[in-house]
């Protein structure tokens, strides 16, 4: 399964699973990342942080963080 890092700009991903511990997942959840939520990748330049739209807000994630979120794309 791919992670959020692999999703190109403009694509929509659905969160399937969190990896890398409860602390990260809890912080991500507070910012709107929960199982089954739709994420729009606003910018993914292939290096540097990724910008996504989730639940009507814009959230920036480091690549390390994005690689802990397993997703499927539509």
């Amino acid at each position: 399964m791919q992670t959020l890092v692999d999703v190109p700009t403009g694509a929509i991903a659905i969160v399937q699973q969190f990896q890398g511990g409860r602390e990260f997942a809890a912080r991500a959840a507070a910012l709107g990342f929960t199982l089954g939520v739709e994420i729009t990748v606003i910018h993914n330049y292939g290096s540097g942080p990724i910008l996504v739209g989730v639940r009507g807000a814009r959230v920036a994630l480091g690549r390390g963080e994005a690689s802990k979120i397993r997703v499927t794309t539509l």
Partner: protein, 667 residues
């Protein structure tokens, strides 16, 4: 105004970027006082709100995304709500990102304190094409929802009134509460049954059960202690459901979804908003850097075009003229008193005064960038570079300000939410060479190195950057055990800047500086004057010279004599003091001694280089130290910073001189 005692206490909660501080300022005007949260270095703001016969005390909780113990802010907020039990809590939410900002509300309604929602930034939501019906939201949530545009002062009166009503009638408060997602409800019930008689006061058992299911470390530790042998049973259930926190968070968003569905109409997907369009450039890896450089260019242009001339003018026509005037006017007074006033007090006041133009410019530009919403983008663009130093992207702008002046840089670190990241930035920032330090280098480098002065200066700058990166990475390792702080950050919508809000922020910071750092600067200036004057009246025989001579053995390790050590010590008052002090000390009382010639004959290039390195890394000026104290709210960290920079700068000087000696260079 009547001096009534507030009868009700209302807490003000909200996620970051929802306009909570604007609401707090509107509610309390300047009727605020700042203290520390008990046992924390985080500041607590309390204010009195008096309007229309209502007099309530408002406690500004730190901005928090949730009430899980993810950060110090979140722990402080929930401890206050549970242990101090305010009469009501206002939660400010951002109408433009309603779902996300209602998450905190979803946690608050599970506590036994009445909640009132301040639905803020309705104008911003309108620009984004979102329409919200507050009364529908209110009916769904079962709690008062007050529509607001705090930046224009709208809705604040209704908010206080609604909060006061809710606070007086806690029994009539019947919110619609979120539930855990199906599949985990029985688990929650089972835990609650097991712990309900054993939960310590004042924690509500249902809330504790929820936090246990979420895996909250603080609550888990508390209950393990409390339950003793009975913990095994609870632990067995929790171990079977270690993914339950996803069901809890999911349940909250399901609740939010139900609340929002009927009340909110969103624009059709695919519509490109203003924020999207600006972010195309502002978060681009190349264009974003160019925009950031332009913003910084503007800042430094303003500093040099306006700040520096105004500062010079104040220095000559106010500070020096004032000292001169005091000496003439008070010539009949005892000499010590004239000295105290003209050299001690007026110089101390002068330090504060001449900093003001810089502070005004920095705070205004910083406030503008923050208010527009650009700050988070700057952090986004710089994060990849700052991470290598163990720092957060948000550390970049404040630290960069340090090249102008360390004082606003310290105060600028307030934009960093994580206390650890903020403390690291505060401790690293004095290593950024400010204009005053660089002016000393610019004067001395040509004396020691002639035509190679520029290369040496650039080398020293490179040295400071290497040291900053090294120290940043080390502190990060010490504070967080090397654990990489997750970079996950909200980028708020762009706002049309509000002059009133920016002015309020600038004013608040200036007042903080004058109250917090101003007094310390004045006192230290007077003490330093006394140390450099007494007992004999001359600096050569003063206590300061005594300390300098005492430090001389260490100075010899880097080829420096005691005069140079004293010059370093006087640079504590102001960095520019280094040169006049050297001039006085090397003249030995006789006039007509050329400082340039003396320095060239006294110091070898190796010693000169060591001195410049020490000077650039040395303890910052008193204004910066006072600001460290003000911003960390801790004398311990302030003392640590002084000691650390002293040891670091001396080690660098010794290493350079001894290294040169081994290589046989410049002796």
């Amino acid at each position: 105004m009547s001096e009534r005692q507030p009868t009700l206490t209302i807490a003000l909660a909200g996620q970051p970027n929802v306009g909570k501080s604007t609401v707090f300022n509107l509610l309390t005007h300047q009727n605020q006082y700042v203290s520390n949260w008990p046992g924390k270095t985080c500041e607590q703001k309390t204010g009195i709100c008096q309007r229309e016969g209502i007099c309530v005390s408002i406690v500004d909780l730190p901005g928090a995304y949730s009430l899980t113990a993810n950060s110090e802010e979140e722990r402080i907020a929930r401890d206050f709500l549970i242990k101090c039990r305010p009469d009501a809590v206002i939660v400010v939410v951002d109408a433009a990102s309603l779902e996300r900002s209602l998450y905190l509300a979803a946690e608050l309604v599970c506590l036994p304190v009445p909640v009132v929602v301040g639905l803020n930034m309705l104008d911003m939501a309108g620009y984004e094409g979102i329409t919200i019906e507050p009364h529908v939201l209110q009916a769904a949530m079962g709690i008062p929802v007050v529509p607001m545009v705090a930046s224009k002062g709208q809705g604040v009166r209704d908010l206080v009134a609604a909060a006061a009503v809710a606070a007086r009638n806690p029994q009539s408060w019947t919110p619609n509460r979120p539930e855990v997602q199906a599949g985990h409800r029985q688990v929650l019930d089972a835990i609650e049954t097991l712990i309900s008689d054993l939960t310590p006061h004042p924690y509500p058992p249902d809330w504790v059960a929820l936090k246990l299911l979420e895996g909250d470390e603080e609550i888990t530790a508390m209950m393990r202690m409390q339950l003793g042998a009975a913990w095994e049973q609870v632990h067995a259930i929790l171990a079977q459901h270690d993914d339950a926190f996803l069901a809890v968070a999911g349940g909250r968003y399901e609740w939010i979804g139900r609340m929002v569905r009927a009340a909110v109409v969103r624009p059709k997907p695919g519509q490109v908003t203003v924020t999207d369009r600006i972010d195309q450039a502002a978060t681009h890896p190349v264009a974003g850097l160019i925009i950031l450089l332009c913003a910084l260019g503007l800042l430094f242009y303003l500093t040099y075009a306006i700040g520096a001339p105004v500062q010079a003018w104040l220095e000559i026509y106010v500070v020096q003229a004032g000292a001169e005037w005091a000496r003439t006017l008070l010539s009949a007074w005892p000499a010590w008193l004239v000295g105290l006033l003209s050299s001690g007090v007026i110089m101390g006041v002068g330090t504060v005064l001449t900093l003001l133009p810089f502070l005004l410019i920095f705070f205004s530009v910083l406030g503008l960038l923050e208010d527009v919403g650009y700050m988070a983008r700057a952090a986004f663009v710089m994060d990849r570079f700052m991470h290598r130093m163990g720092l957060h992207g948000k550390s970049f702008l404040p630290m960069f300000l340090g090249f102008g002046c360390n004082v606003p840089a310290m105060m600028g670190t307030r934009i960093i939410e994580s206390p650890k990241a903020r403390l690291t930035t505060i401790l690293v920032t004095p290593l950024v060479p400010c204009t005053a330090r660089m002016s000393v280098v610019a004067f001395l480098a040509p004396i020691f190195f002639g035509s190679r002065a520029t290369a040496v200066t650039l080398g020293l700058l490179a040295l400071t950057i290497v040291v900053i990166a090294g120290v940043g990475a080390t502190m990060h390792r010490l504070f967080s055990g090397g654990e990489h702080t997750a970079f996950i950050m909200e980028l708020p919508l762009y706002h049309i800047p509000s002059a009133r809000r920016i002015a309020q922020g600038v004013w608040q910071r200036l007042v903080d500086f004058l109250q917090g750092a101003g007094t310390i600067i004045l006192v230290v200036s007077v003490v330093m004057w006394a140390l450099s004057t007494y007992p004999g009246g001359e600096i050569e025989t003063s206590y300061l010279a005594f300390v300098g001579r005492w430090l001389a053995p260490m100075g010899r390790l880097m080829g420096l004599d005691w005069q140079m050590m004293v010059a370093l010590l006087t640079s504590f008052v102001r960095k520019e003091n280094t040169l006049p002090t050297l001039a006085v000390l090397y003249s030995g009382g006789s006039s007509g001694v050329n400082l340039v010639e003396t320095l060239r004959s006294q110091l070898s290039p190796a010693a000169g280089l060591a001195f410049l390195a020490v000077q650039i890394l040395f303890i910052p000026c008193v204004a910066t130290v006072a600001t460290i104290r003000q911003e960390t709210r801790s004398w311990g960290w302030t003392a640590f910073s002084i000691l650390f920079l002293f040891v670091l700068s001396m080690s660098a000087g010794i290493a350079i001189f001894q290294g040169a000696a081994v290589l046989g260079w410049g002796l």
